[in-house]
Amino acid sequence: MSTSDVTKDGIRGAKPGRDAMVGVVAGRHDGARPSHRRRGERSMVPEAKFSSYYGKPVLNAPVWKAPDIAGYFFLGGLSGASSVIGACASATGRPALAKASKVGALASISLGMVGLVHDLGKPSRFVNMLRVFKPTSPMSVGSWALAGYGPAAGAAAFSAVTGRMKGLGAVATGAAAAIGPFVASYTAALMCNTAVPSWHEAYREMPFVFVGSGATAAGGLGILAAPVAEAGPARRTALFGAALELAASQLLTRRLPEPLSEPYQSGKSGARFKLSEALTAAGAAGSVLLGRRSRAAAVVSGLALLAGSALSRFAIFEAGMVSANDPEHTVRPQRERLDRASG
């Protein structure tokens, strides 16, 4: 190994008479170097906050595609919350809202599951999802939940549309409403149960962001599809969902340590997240203030709520990609934790 650099201006740093002193204890062993280094660390020049290997990410980023997986997170939330609305609407004598919500639940979970299968590297092996049951894998638990939820949502919608098999329809409506909240929320655990720092460290708030977003979307669908007279609970569901989602998002970005909150606040993902919050707030306000009087206002509000919910999932998904690809997100919190532990 050479200790010199050959530059255009000649050789720099060449040491005449260099000896390979293998085994000779030299330099650092007398303590001179460590003290030199410690002096350096106390200097006024701020040190680099983290090191990395040529700026390369530590993690391998998810290979999930946004339209499939962020899309499924949105559709699963929409479907799960719609099933609850559908059941409550049936029980309280609002047939139009019940039918719209049950059909919406079936359509959205079907589309979502198409996305899930499409995203697999080997789609022909999708049934392997039901090969084992593993509580350590939210994806495994979710697959079994979907295996129960999908048929229930289907039977509930079939009965609501055709008016046939009312008994089975009622049972299926109840089952879908029972599993629906889990379908809307487990995806948060699926996403946070990774090494992606901006997802993992947000695992306390994310389920509430997700169910809030699901309620926002399902409320929006109800407002959009049901007559104004029956849509009161859908408007209140949207308001509840929007309030929950916005509050949980605020808490999420505030509680995350500094580098990890950035993808939710700045850059493309941050801009999308802010736009989603604005759409959600505007849709909720519009539906509550104007949705009772004007059908047009109800349609616009419902669309804003659905768009806000979808955009929120895509923004959160994108934030995780940013976080996974940034070595600072992985290294800095871990380094700071080690430094704290060693005092």
């Binding site: 200790t3 894998s137 655990a189 149960n193 399902a218 209140r236 509840f240």
Partner: protein, 301 residues
Amino acid sequence: MASDNLLSSLLAGDTDPAAISGHSDHPPRMGFFTDTSVCIGCKACEVACKEWNHIPEDGLNFTGMSYDNTVGLGADTWRHVAFIEQRKPIAGQIAGVQHQDAGAPAIDEASGDLRWLMASDVCKHCTHAACLDVCPTGALFRTEFGTVVVQEDVCNGCGYCIPACPYGVIDQRQDDGRAWKCTLCYDRLQVGMEPACAKACPTDSIQFGPLDELRERAAARVASLHEAGVTDARLYGHDPNDGVGGDGAFFLLLDEPEVYGLPPDPVVTTRDLPSMWKHVGAAALTLAVGVAAAFAGGRRS
């Protein structure tokens, strides 16, 4: 199956992963000790691994990153040799240092001091392996040797293991869709052979053997390096009480782990899963109650 059992087994320190996974009468846990202080960056391990495991070519690119065009571990790179050029002297090999004042060793940039850190990275075969925990198909499994292996005839390419790995090891193979990583040469181990990379390593930087034995050897090596003045030497992934319960493949490094692209304090993501499930349950309940309240309140419509 209870989450408390899961939690305790995940948090347990020095465990026997093969026994926990149901192998009753199993051989000792095998692993790698990669001593980077004697790595010469020849990449024989990369080549041997590719050849033995029939790993496809994954791009012949020029990165301009020192002598590393492989970049990092992935579906088609199961051994990766990192090259780091530093303006630091190598202790014990510095010409002329002993002739100078002890207080002013020649370590400033102008002196032309240079050291190359070279390190062969590999799957860590964690005691608490996140990839294995999150795999929904059971394609990833724990072998009788305590290693973690993907069954390629079961994997459906869901991709969950990829962001779960705290080290960025496993990845999806293009045009194949499935996840691939180091098997610690499971096929060779079963017939009593050492893994291809260790076999090919000309300096014994990659050492293969029973993990207990490797840990003892590594501790002795660090001690002798410290004695020789290489105070930078430290072990990485050897501690059964770290966030992944200790690595089956651990390292002797000459700088901080992050300099080599390794996470300084990785934690298996499933350590927080019991708490995640509780938050999911609370959120699901909140949704159900919230919607029900929306129907109960406001009797007008």
